[in-house]
């Protein structure tokens, strides 16, 4: 599933990419709305979207801060995304008594809609190029670390000003490895209510096995409604529904929020990923997965509690394995090596270019090597269970909020504080049993990796075994209570200093070292990588010209492509599947396991027109974070709901291949077909199809 794990960003942050080349390939690219691929569209498809078309699509597109995308599909604030993007919220609304993830939900009236505990949606209202201001704040005599600090200060100031002026969420977006800086202002929504979700059995039909594959048979949808001041927002910019969908060979667009790509890394950076980052990351995730599967065996309620994390882990493992396969693919790596060499050769062949940029590759390599040498140890020291994360954020907030805005860590800057607090004070339930188990395992892993004499280990374990330490921490903490967290936050530095909550005590004790290590890493890795990466990107501009698109940054992008099948496993994959295929897949596995249909599908099959298109593929270039994106035709109509890429698309993180890379979407007709015929949700279907609500 093509959702975007924000956690993934942490380990990718050091892997800064550089840009060029691949934009020349057909249907390639995740384009910013300030620089749409008008030339490519005109040349290949004879279609040029108007500015009005582009603005409309942009304003109908929604970012899910949980890590996905969506779109307005009615004038009354109705937003359509994936079930798996909504899944975190569904899980948070659920309890032992009611499992919305597994069983789904439908609000027959607005009164029945359920508010999400901590879902933030964003709509990109404006984009402003602030490159000159940012670059102007940095002088050539600064060290990398000084430049990093200066950049932080100026971007914090720009954001803050914008927020104060517009009242909007104001993010600074770095594109082209810092060659451009943009101020993106978002309309932010936090009163979001669940309208309709189908059963997981159909949303995620085929489970982990079929995930990231095609032919596919999922109806991976969830409807939300956005409220403001207690009323549904009047979403003037929404996508009109087209129930015919897109036909074989038709030009379509995807507007959404791809999380990250690494297409333009230097070859050295790719080697680090291939030889260290990926294998270690996959191994770590597998360890956590085993742990959670064991936990889930404890009973129905344990299974329910762990289910969302298990899904996330399986999803990540499959995605990373597919990307890793790309890195292990000799042909792909040979292409990347040749691209890298070609750029470097051309830089070195020109004395001026060589002087300006020639050093950057070696500098990047040095940073990459330092990163590789320290990544494992840093990983052990990053404790990721919910209850500790809360404590750590509270301790950090107290520390950061003392500082001037421009010196704070980004999430505590004025422009971002509101969103940070929204998540920090979330009423969503925490499962202590699960946290304890994961914490004990993480501490054991750290102990094994760092040894008993490591200062971090001594601080955390304090003479106890990992299991004992985890138990004491989890049993003693009140971090699960949002009121306690709010009180501590509001109490500031003094309240934090006075707290005897064991998680807070631990976070306090670890904070100085964590800060020191963060600063070391900024100085020796991030700062270097940022500066050198910027130079490699600049060199690309200088050599190839600037007619390309930047690596993905979980900001709004436009992709385009054709609905079409592809060669697969000795034959051809079709451009679409039908409901016939859904029932075939179910009965091919005797309607069991991940292929068991929700009962209403079995009971009411005869109501369906089984030849209705179900899922379809296009060459649109997408990646994790695009989940929930609308597929749009040239008229700007809604024809499909992106929810995945095929297995062949996964190496697309590094290199897009039009031959086999496909974006997988639910067909618009399938959505209306089941709403009307299986969910008795004609009212919702009417709202989609434009009959007045």
């Amino acid at each position: 599933m093509f959702c975007h794990s924000r956690k993934g960003l942490v380990w990718r942050i050091a892997l800064v990419a550089c840009l060029g080349f691949s934009a020349m390939r057909a249907d390639d690219g995740m384009w910013t709305f300030d620089n749409p691929p008008l030339k490519q569209l005109k040349e290949r498809y004879g279609f040029v979207p108007t500015q009005e078309w582009l603005d409309h699509v942009r304003l109908a597109s929604v970012r899910f801060m949980d890590g996905g995308s969506g779109a307005f599909v009615s004038p009354n604030g109705l937003v359509l995304t994936n079930h798996h993007v909504a899944r975190g919220q569904l899980q948070k609304m659920s309890s032992k008594q009611k499992d919305y993830v597994a069983d789904g939900f439908y609000a027959r009236t607005m009164q029945e809609e359920i508010k999400c505990p901590d879902l933030e949606l964003n709509v990109l209202v404006s984009m402003e190029d602030v490159t000159a201001r940012v670059h102007g704040a940095i002088t050539s005599d600064m060290s990398p670390k000084q430049a990093l600090d200066a950049r932080k200060a100026i971007t914090a100031r720009i954001s803050k000003e914008a927020k104060e002026k517009t009242g909007l969420r104001a993010d600074i977006v770095s594109l082209y490895q810092g060659n451009e800086y943009w101020l993106y202002c978002y309309k932010k929504y936090t009163d979001v209510r669940l309208v309709m979700a189908p059963e997981m059995g159909i949303a995620f039909f085929g489970g982990d096995a079929d995930n990231f594959t095609f032919p596919r048979h999922d109806i991976d949808m969830t409807f939300f409604r956005v409220y403001e001041d207690g009323k549904p927002v009047a979403s003037r910019h929404y996508l009109h529904w087209n129930n015919k969908g897109a036909g074989d060979g038709e030009l379509v667009f995807v507007s959404g929020h791809p999380g990250s790509t690494n297409r333009l890394q230097t070859y050295d950076q790719l080697l680090l990923q291939r030889d260290q980052t990926y294998p270690e990351r996959i191994k770590g995730l597998q360890r956590r997965l085993m742990l959670l599967r064991d936990y889930a065996k404890g009973g129905t309620e344990q299974a329910r509690q762990a289910s969302n994390q298990i899904f996330g882990l399986e999803n990540s493992i499959k995605a990373l394995s597919g990307e890793y396969a790309g890195l292990l693919d000799k042909e792909l790596m040979a292409k990347k090596a040749a691209e890298d060499k070609n750029l470097r050769d051309r830089v070195n062949a020109d004395p001026q270019l060589k002087e300006k940029y020639g050093w950057a590759w070696d500098s990047l390599r040095a940073a990459v090597n330092r990163d590789g040498a320290t990544a494992k140890a840093r990983g052990y020291k990053s404790i990721k269970v919910k209850l500790y994360t809360f404590a750590s954020q509270l301790v950090q907030a107290a520390e950061e909020l003392k500082k001037p805005n421009g010196e704070r860590l980004s999430q505590y800057q004025d422009a971002n504080l509101e969103s940070t607090k929204f998540r920090l004070f979330s009423p969503a339930p925490v499962y202590p049993g699960l946290d304890e188990l994961r914490l004990a395992d993480a501490l054991q892993e750290a102990l094994d990796g760092l040894g008993a004499d490591d200062p971090f280990i001594k601080t955390v374990l304090d003479g106890k075994s990992p299991a004992e330490a985890a138990r004491a921490l989890v049993e003693g903490t009140k971090m699960g209570d949002p009121a306690v967290r709010r009180k501590l936050f509001d109490g500031g530095e003094n309240a934090i200093a006075a707290s005897t909550d064991p998680m807070v005590v631990l976070a306090r004790r670890l904070a100085p070292t964590a800060k020191k290590e963060r600063e070391w890493s900024e100085r020796h890795i991030a700062g270097i990588t940022a500066r050198a990466g910027e130079k490699v990107a600049e060199a690309r501009f200088a050599v190839y010209g600037k007619n390309t698109n930047p690596d993905a940054t979980f900001t709004l992008r436009l992709s385009y492509g054709t609905v079409t099948g592809y060669p697969m496993n000795g034959t051809v994959a079709p451009p679409k599947t039908t409901f016939f295929g859904l029932f075939d897949r179910a009965y091919s596995f005797d309607n069991k396991g991940a292929y068991k249909l929700p009962q209403r599908y079995v009971d009411n099959m005869s109501r369906l027109d089984l030849s209705t298109p179900l899922d379809f593929v296009s060459t649109c270039d997408i990646i994790g974070g695009n989940s929930g994106s609308p597929v749009i035709n040239t008229k700007g109509e809604y024809v499909g709901l992106i929810f995945d890429g095929n297995i062949e698309s996964l190496p697309g993180r590094f290199l897009y291949s039009e031959t086999t890379n496909r974006a997988v979407a639910v067909h618009s007709a399938a959505i209306v077909e089941v709403l009307r015929k299986l969910y008795d949700a004609g009212v919702l279907a009417d709202e989609l199809e434009g009959n007045v609500l």
Copy 2:
């Protein structure tokens, strides 16, 4: 499709295999009925078939001399095979007015059944080990060529004696590269009548794209009835029908006639195939395919005439490409190299073994090199169009029949002459336009390859261009008339010498050189390969013991395995498909092209239970020639109809892999479902299901 092209044997004949190793792998092997895998079955499945079970299955199994397999499925001579095995006969029965290949056929009564022009079926009645007699005729002081001649003489004598004694077809079968010789006696049937064939659109649904793949949705069946003395034979040994088929995880068997495998070749032999034989062979077939596709564009009748050859070429190209992919696979080749090295090392480590067998590898390599160096030129000189083949056989027959039985080419020996004449006098139509086109192209290719001064070219072209020569030969010949052929054959040497038919004249002129080249090849390639191959095989026995099965030889074999899915393209292929899947595949491609369903399927879909199993897979080890084989459960019942292997099975020619190698079959339930509900063929279904005819 897993039919067996007998033409394929010609170019494989020099590639003699050697044996050992792989028999230890699970579900591996095509076992002779004298040596069934009782131990493996007992250990892995706890099932031991009785001798009665084995005899019954053997006597119910049918060999199609057109290159496939089948089985008796009623006590009244009803035989079930594949549509694509029957396809040649269907084509020969067809005319411009009536296309049985495309449209199918159903005889509501026996009176309506149509006799096949030249179909010979065989049932294996007895097997006798004659190794001692054959080996006894060869002494160690003979040269390889002398040994070859001596072997020919003794095997011709054994066959002739057996035929005279029993009246049966008597073949000598060389197993384990000549380490064993067996006399196989077959009951032969030549009055075979067409009972029912479905439309090609369902028999070969998905066309060339889906060929050799799974999930699959074909009903690749044709029913024949065997007659003797004008009456249906009382087929006491027939397989009882089990309409439930075989379930996921069930043990099943396949009894059929795999054409050839090359699992135990030396590494040198594989290298020749990888670097020369396969790429050249595929290139040649592609050339012929282009030619025929052009011809087919000429009109409906041209398309009909060429359709069977086009199918055969596409089928061969896809099969060979899949096998070639195996040879290009580094992992597979590394395993083969290791196997080869291991055996050779063990031979060389033992002075006695080294003396007996050590030389054989080098000798094989020398033969392989000679083969490689001459294959192309020999290929040019082999003219394969029907009208010339008849002439050439007539000339050869006159020459050979003068000789004592034991000195003749095998097809003219007394034991085989009847079958040879059956084909030679076939009333099946020949299409002169098609033959002329192919002949002109083959002559052009030969001219390009050999040059204008080559004696063969001078003889064939006689100063004309390839197109002119082909036109003159085809326009002037009467070889298309079976009565003319019979008269020439009966006229013997004198009639041949007096003939002015241009094809006969050409064949006469080419005969002496062809004979010389055949003898050179026997002396320098086949003789050496036979002797050295036998020694490598013997070495295998000496080192690993004799608990294995021989390479396939288009003789009856028993395979066993489990009905089960497999990992595929990022997910899992199910053990079976259903009729839902058939309609999904059709409508996924808008019911067009190779995915267009016969109209009766569209019109009468509602009559079908769409959850009925359609096709299914098992780990049974099969290859081309197994097409039409029955899949049998432990009770000896008919549960499925083999028609293909998946794409992953194709490298199985060299190495079987249980993980992904699957045999693809039509489910018994699908056959009855369509007979009853779509073809109004309840009488036939009743015969299958055991209600009295």
